[in-house]
């Protein structure tokens, strides 16, 4: 019952009306990071502080994030970078994926509970599932409503990623970038290509 309430009232929650929007931004490897930083580039200084979370095996994302943040003009905004264990490697088996996701959850829960973001922004890597679950839990426990924003990768034209299929059910705002997906997933938001 409480889960139903938390999931359904997302669209009424307006953290931006009360002040800056603290964002937890999940940066997956390679193309995911590039896409999420393009989205971040468009967001105003109202979205601060920005907490980036990357998988512990990811080398390149940290550099990309630092380069991006140092190019920002708003000098008064802050960012942090955190690492959590990767939920799942590409081609990892189902059973070991469950275990590694649970392990990632053990890191995600304290991190999200400590940071208390207004919003989680993610776009597909497995890393975002435990983080979004932690955000959902924060709401379930009545501690804070965390708005979950998911943007499916531009690579996804006909089919959703596994992460997308999972988060379609619990996200507050679910963006797809091709009309064929909007037709298949009526709850999704389609604004054309946004990266």
């Amino acid at each position: 019952m409480r889960l139903h309430i938390v999931v359904k009232t997302g669209s009424n929650h307006k953290p931006g009306a009360e002040g800056p929007v603290a964002a937890l931004v999940v940066a997956g490897s390679g193309g995911h990071t590039t896409e999420i930083l393009r989205l971040m580039e468009s967001l105003s200084a109202a979205y601060t502080p920005r907490h980036y979370v990357i998988a512990d095996t990811d080398r390149m994302s940290e550099e990309k994030i630092c380069t991006f943040e140092s190019s920002k003009q708003h000098s008064d905004s802050q960012f942090t970078i955190h690492r959590i264990p990767r939920s799942r490697e590409v081609h990892q088996s189902w059973s070991s994926s469950v275990l590694s996701t649970l392990s990632a959850l053990c890191y995600s829960l304290p991190l999200v509970f400590r940071l208390r973001p207004d919003m989680v922004l993610c776009n597909g890597p497995g890393t975002c599932v435990p983080l979004c679950m932690a955000g959902l839990l924060l709401g379930l426990l009545g501690m804070k409503k965390v708005v979950i924003v998911y943007v499916e990768s531009i690579c996804r034209v006909e089919t959703l990623s596994l992460t997308g299929k999972i988060l379609y059910l619990i996200s507050d705002y679910f963006f797809v970038q091709w009309s064929s997906l909007r037709d298949k997933y009526p709850k999704s938001i389609f604004l054309g290509r946004i990266v």
Binding site: S11, H13, K14, P15, G16, A17, E18, V21, G30, G31, T34, R38, L39, E41, S42, L43, S44, A46, Y47, D118, M119, V147, V149, V151, S153, I154, C155, R156, V157, E158, T159, Y173, F175, Q177, W178, I189, L191, G192, R193, I194, V195
Partner: protein, 164 residues
């Protein structure tokens, strides 16, 4: 000097590298006016020697921090179907020929290349049809690829979250 840039991103695609350096394909490139061929071979096992290709001036490397300059200097880009490679080439406004690796199983990246092809933003072939495609391709049918609009996302989100 008209240049072709071949990229396989972070993958390995030996079949493409092998194919594009054969005398027949090099001749096809030359007959279209291309004189320089630059290969980014990624994790592939083939890293051709500069002297190994007749008809065209050859350069080859595995990785660079950024291939933006190679893309800028190219008059034609031949790429694997990876999204990052495709979007980077299209973003630079370059004619793009995607070579699909039909040895890869269940490659979801094909979804994007296929859609972009349907929208006439790139040409499409396999290694076995590469030579013929290069001979007969008409780049004038390609339509410009407009960049995505992240501002639309920002405006929507600001409104949804009540940002002033």
């Amino acid at each position: 000097m008209k240049t072709v840039f071949v990229t396989v991103g972070t993958t390995s695609f030996d079949e493409l590298i092998e194919n594009v350096t054969t005398p027949e394909v090099a001749q096809a490139l030359k007959s279209r006016g291309y004189e320089r061929l630059v290969l980014q071979v990624g994790r592939g096992s083939l890293l051709p020697d500069p002297d190994s290709c007749p008809h065209v001036r050859l350069e080859a490397f595995r990785f660079k921090d950024s291939i933006a300059e190679d893309i800028q200097q190219a008059d034609l880009i031949i790429s694997h179907a990876g999204a990052g490679s495709c979007l980077e080439a299209l973003g630079a406004g370059k004619p793009l020929l995607v070579v699909v690796n039909d040895k890869l199983m269940d490659n979801h990246q094909l979804e994007l290349a296929r859609q972009l092809h349907m929208d006439s933003h790139l040409l499409y072939c396999t290694c076995s049809t590469l030579k013929e495609t290069l001979r007969t391709m008409d780049l004038s049918v390609l339509r410009p690829f407009l960049p995505g609009q992240p501002k639309n996302f920002a405006n929507f989100l600001d409104k949804a979250l009540g940002v002033q």
